[in-house]
């Protein structure tokens, strides 16, 4: 047992923190979120140069190696800086999918780690809520070795910038069957593929992806035909663990900002931090941050360990997501509350951290959903 960071992991964290401190003051984040593309392509190139985009990708596939723990280290630090760059969508979820790529996508991972490829994963649908096998988008055989894909995918993060959009489809069976799913990698410009772009409440970009008879070949299949659920779950698990680390970074930052604010804000002739009722609240928030961080890294370690059994991994990931969802509400809502009117304003960074933190809960399934996964009570 060793639940401490290695020197390399600490160095990695410091390098992300350094970049955030030097180049990512809140005003930059605000401008980027409002910009045309919604993030900085220049910073993305810098991420590539620093090797961050190749994390989790084997060196022989053009990456820099490392695994879920390294990814979590980066995500936590990016969370603390509230970065809008699509690391989660492209480097975490996207790379996990592309690893299953067939011949047609053989250079994808190398291009991804060089910063030349943006990805999005279209897995949710209107009726699916958080169920990954609840897929009605259909891929029907078309000609010798092809398919035509028809359906609509909901709230696809990073879809506006994506060069490749991975889509979960049904090639057999009925909606909610675990069998019969197939994941395809589609070029964003493919005829019949349409993205309705929008901003999200937390300053990111997403879109509704409409697939109107989009043509795909066998070479576009990620993983095996009909066994796509494994590919989907692997990508979503990676996404959850990374999102938990991001949330831990956000929470810790919100807590720190709140402590600072209460030290400087005076009412009734005293710093607000001198009131014991508020001190206890800050302590409860602090505990929630620490517990969340433990759970985020526990899940990352389990995910990194090839020995972890499937059931154990599912439990670890679900538990972490429950903890993060609950603690995120507690820390976030109290941080706003303790800032008083200032916490409500768009001007203060704290409200932007809050929005991202709350919306992480419903990304890849909220606390309610994962609680049932753990308890085994999902119908």
């Amino acid at each position: 047992m060793n639940f401490s960071f290695t020197d390399e992991q600490n160095l990695l964290r410091e390098s992300v923190e350094k970049l955030i401190a030097a180049e990512y003051p809140f005003e930059v984040r605000r401008d980027l979120a409002a910009s045309e593309t919604g993030f900085s392509r220049e910073l993305w190139r810098k991420f590539a140069e620093l090797g961050w985009l190749g994390l989790g990708i084997p060196e022989d596939a053009g990456g820099v190696g490392g695994g879920p723990v390294e990814t979590a280290v980066v995500m936590e630090a990016l969370g603390a800086g509230l970065a809008v760059e699509p690391f989660l969508a492209t480097v975490v979820v996207g790379a996990s999918l592309l690893k299953h790529g067939g011949a047609a996508r053989h250079d994808g991972l190398a291009r991804l780690s060089a910063g030349e490829l943006q990805l999005a994963f279209a897995f949710a649908e209107r009726q699916s809520r958080y169920e990954l096998a609840n897929v009605e988008t259909r891929a029907e055989p078309d000609g010798e070795d092809g398919y035509r894909i028809t359906g609509t995918k909901s709230v696809v993060f990073n879809a506006p910038a994506a060069d490749v959009i991975a889509v979960s489809t049904r090639t057999a069976g009925r909606s909610r069957d675990r069998e019969g799913l197939t994941v395809f990698a589609l070029d964003a410009g493919a005829p019949g593929l349409h993205v309705r772009e929008y901003r999200t409440m937390d300053g990111l970009r997403a879109g509704e992806v409409d697939l109107d008879g989009v043509r795909a070949g066998r070479g576009d299949v990620l993983g095996r035909t009909g066994e796509g659920i494994a590919v989907v779950e692997e990508a979503v698990n990676a996404g959850i663990v990374a999102a938990c680390a991001e949330a831990a970074g956000i929470m810790t930052r919100m807590h720190r900002d709140t402590v600072e604010y209460l030290k400087h804000r005076e009412q009734f002739g005293n710093a607000l931090s001198s009131f014991q009722a508020l001190q206890h609240r800050l302590v409860d928030m602090f505990m929630a941050c620490e517990l969340s961080r433990s759970m985020a890294y526990m899940a990352a370690v389990r995910l990194a360990d090839p020995e972890t059994e499937a059931a154990e991994l599912r439990r670890a990931v679900a538990a972490a997501k429950v903890q993060i969802g609950r603690s995120g509400r507690f820390v976030g809502e109290n941080a706003i509350q303790l800032h008083g009117g200032m916490g409500m304003t768009d001007e203060m960074p704290i409200s932007h951290y809050f929005k991202r933190l709350v919306l992480i809960d419903s990304q890849f399934g909220d606390a309610e959903h994962h609680l049932r996964e753990m308890a085994g009570t999902a119908p």
């Binding site: 949710a124 209107r126 909901s154 008083g340 768009d346």
Partner: protein
């Protein structure tokens, strides 16, 4: 004890219900139901309809144009309004400054201001908070210096709700420097169209602009706009705070929210079935309903005591804390019903706007509302300050 309304009370309830059903404009109801932002024109239209019927100010005495109802009638009226998705009148005139003018104003002030509050021709806003004076309101610094038959006002108010729509603002100002801070404060009515007033909108995290900074630079205010005596403003403000609190629980509004959540849950799915049939979802909603019921019967106990002539005490703080906590929980549950559709910045759900919704139509604005409603535990005396009040005034600590 008896929890059943008597025949007169039931008849009263029925009369209110019928009136609202017949006269509330559809577009106004629709706006309230969907949680869209307040729009002044619709609000004024509805307030004028209420006023025509004599119901704009339920709690004012009849001689001043109020309905002169008992506390129980006022409560039943509020309930019916909220249940029918009728927006209550803007509080700043009718519920806040009106009662102060009635209790402490001159006859001339009553003649001048009350009718225009009732007719909704004057809109009011509340100028209490300042950047340095929030919870500790008595530390306010905006100064009013007497100059002949005027006061000259300088300073800054903040978080002023609806200042951009308001014709008048009631302000707490410092008119002298006394040893005891509360004693140098006066209650002044200021014309928002006066030279020297600047209003600057403050954007909130949900993207709305309902609050403002309000700046005063050498604003000349006729001395006749002073309420009561100079230096007694704190007393009047405290009187008003008592008025602010009973309505803030919003029990019926919360009940209407629960109905809306149920309706949306019919068309959302969970594990292949309507969300409304999901046991965990139903249990979660039932938990909130229990809390709401406990609150409702606590209010009824207070209203009963008021009906018997006992003024609401600091126990009213319970209503503020619990009521806003429940409202906030409901905004969260509501947001969660739409799953991923909490994420998009939805195009504004303006009636007649010709933009296709993103995802289900009912998802628009739900997360914005959750974010916006964090305000409810901050304003009107924050929930921490309410706890201090209970600790001090009720428990004697």
């Amino acid at each position: 004890m008896d929890l059943v309304l008597n025949p007169e009370e039931r008849a009263f309830q029925e009369e209110v219900r019928t009136f609202i059903r017949e006269r509330l404009p559809d577009d106004v109801r629709e706006r309230t139901w969907s949680g869209a932002r307040m729009d002044k024109e619709g609000q004024v239209r509805w307030e004028k309809i209420l006023n025509e019927r004599g119901w704009m100010a339920p709690n004012w005495p009849v001689e001043h144009g109020g309905a002169g109802w008992t506390p129980l009638q006022c409560y039943l009226f509020e309930e019916e309004m909220e249940a029918a998705c009728a927006p209550p009148p803007m509080p700043f005139g009718v519920s806040m400054v009106g009662p102060v003018i009635i209790a402490f104003g001159t006859d001339e002030q009553k003649r001048r201001f009350l009718p225009r509050i009732l007719s909704s021709d004057d809109w009011w806003c509340q100028g209490y908070s300042e950047p340095g004076a929030g919870s500790d309101l008595a530390s306010l610094k905006t100064r009013a210096v007497r100059d002949g038959d005027h006061y000259v006002v300088n300073g800054q108010k903040t978080w002023t709700t609806a200042a951009q729509h308001a014709d008048w603002i009631f302000c707490l100002v410092r008119s002298s420097r006394e040893a005891k801070r509360q004693e140098g404060i006066s209650f002044l009515l200021i014309d928002m169209h006066s030279p020297g007033i600047t209003v600057r909108p403050i954007r909130t995290m949900d993207g709305g602009e309902e609050i403002n900074d309000t700046f005063f630079e050498d604003v000349r205010v006729p001395a006749e706009n002073l309420i009561g005596e100079e230096g007694r403003g704190w007393t009047y403000a405290k009187f008003l705070l008592g008025h602010e609190r009973t309505g803030i629980a919003g029990v019926s509004r919360s009940k209407a929210q629960i109905r809306r959540i149920r309706e949306i849950a019919q068309s959302e799915t969970s594990h292949g079935r309507p969300l409304a049939e999901d046991p965990r979802f139903r249990e979660r909603l039932a938990e909130v309903e229990v809390e709401l019921m406990a609150l409702e019967y606590t209010i009824l106990r207070i209203v009963s005591a008021m009906n018997a002539g006992t003024a609401p005490g600091p126990e009213a703080s319970i209503l503020k804390i619990k009521g806003t906590e429940i409202q906030q929980t409901l905004t969260d549950v509501l947001m969660q019903t739409v799953g991923y559709y909490a994420h998009p910045e939805h195009p504004p759900a303006e009636p007649g706007a010709n933009v296709a919704p993103i995802g289900p139509e009912h998802a628009a604005g739900l997360s914005a509302r959750y974010f916006n409603w964090r305000k409810a535990s901050i304003y009107g005396g924050s929930n921490e300050i309410q706890r201090n009040i209970i600790a001090k005034m009720v428990l004697g600590l």
